[in-house]
């Protein structure tokens, strides 16, 4: 009976402990996540104040995160109304970009890799994008071609929008950034 108890304790401890540890760092950990509007960021991942979960997540793969002070990566998986981004819909990316020396905005899959589409245009940099008269940002993301700044989407399925800001002052105070200072992601229509 005592051996059975011990075996039960060990099985529960090892199974639950290892399982929960694997689950906690299989993806980007919830701890340290900062949400601003539709965007999420992990600003502590690029500093000495990194939390153990993020450190374990980074150590489990070939990751080279941006250093805080070097830049900031913002990831959006949902539009401004909280609906998951879907390749069957058209989206308008517009509004302001924070003060930065350079930025890039791109479409990736859930693992951060660009989709293999016929047209190799997965990102825009701040120099490449064509701006309207007011100098703002206006990009259309859709599976079918659009006039102006067009980012092709996969025909269907989930995708992510990644905004990378280089040499930006907001990397150290991401939590205090207002959503109005970041690009908006608005769904236009769906097929």
């Amino acid at each position: 009976m005592r051996i059975f108890d011990l075996a039960y304790i060990l099985a529960l401890g090892a199974g639950l402990g290892l399982g929960s540890a694997h689950w906690a760092v299989a993806g980007r950990p919830v701890i340290g996540k900062v949400e601003v509007g539709a965007w999420t960021a992990w600003p502590a991942s690029g500093s000495r104040a990194i939390d153990p979960y993020m450190r374990a997540y980074l150590a489990r793969g070939v990751h080279l995160p941006l250093g805080s002070g070097e830049g900031l990566e913002l990831i959006a998986e949902r539009d401004d109304n909280g609906r998951a981004l879907d390749g069957r819909c058209r989206y308008h990316l517009g509004g302001a970009t924070p003060t930065t020396r350079g930025w890039t905005i791109g479409i990736t899959d859930g693992d951060g890799l660009p989709f293999r589409l016929q047209l190799e245009r997965s990102t825009f940099t701040d120099s490449e994008v064509v701006r309207p008269e007011d100098g703002g940002l206006s990009i259309i993301a859709s599976a079918t071609p659009e006039a102006g700044n067009w980012l092709p989407l996969p025909a269907s399925g989930r995708f992510q929008v990644r905004l990378r800001l280089y040499d930006t002052p907001i990397s150290s105070q991401t939590g205090e950034t207002r959503a109005a200072n970041l690009p908006r992601i608005e769904r236009i229509d769906c097929r």
């Binding site: 108890d5 039960y8 304790i9 060990l10 099985a11 529960l12 401890g13 090892a14 199974g15 639950l16 402990g17 290892l18 929960s20 540890a21 906690a24 760092v25 991942s45 690029g46 500093s47 000495r48 990194i50 153990p52 979960y53 993020m54 450190r55 374990a56 997540y57 980074l58 150590a59 489990r60 793969g61 070939v62 990751h63 080279l64 995160p65 941006l66 250093g67 805080s68 002070g69 070097e70 830049g71 990566e73 020396r101 350079g102 890039t104 791109g106 990736t108 693992d111 951060g112 890799l113 660009p114 997965s122 990102t123 940099t125 701040d126 490449e128 990644r162 990378r164 280089y166 040499d167």
Partner: protein, 213 residues
Amino acid sequence: MSAVGHDMAEPPQAAPSPTIGWRTRLRSGLARFLMTTLAGLILAAIVHIVTILAIPTLSQRDAVHAYRELGGGSRAELLPAPGNARGLPTPREVDPNVVTAVCSYDLSAGPMRVVARTGTLPLGLTLHRQGGGIVYAITDRAAIRGVLDFLVMTEAQRDERIAEDEEGETSRELRVVSDTEQGLIVVRVLVRLPSDRADAEALATSVECGMAN
């Protein structure tokens, strides 16, 4: 008759005792199950914490291990393209508009000196320690007369250097302490336009990283 009466009288006394025994046994069994479950959960929490803290030191798949051979000379080397002959992996979640070059360092032989000349494209330098985490980040905006120059060393090497400094004179060199002996110096140059790529690659690979002494 007396025997029957005795038998009849016996059950009312004996009947409650098995039920009490059964109940107490159930209760003690349940208590024991809860205690062992609690012990198991506490052990699970300990295993969870130890695993999370051990992953960075035990992992062999992190960027520092993957790119250990790169930039061992005196200059940063560009990250290999996917499907390269050396079988090196490509980093995950990278920006396709950025040219990345790395220099691996090993401080066991002494401090490293990193010298980067700035160009027109934004350049960032980061120090990644083994097992995840960035020790130091600097951009070309901090350059003095177009040059970024700093030393990477361990805590002990810094103390040694401070002891060697001339009395009363302030040292002008920038000293960065790395808490692990092995690590990576990552050079990132933003490619603003596709035509800038050659310039960006030249700028990234012009970063020098050699022994300080």
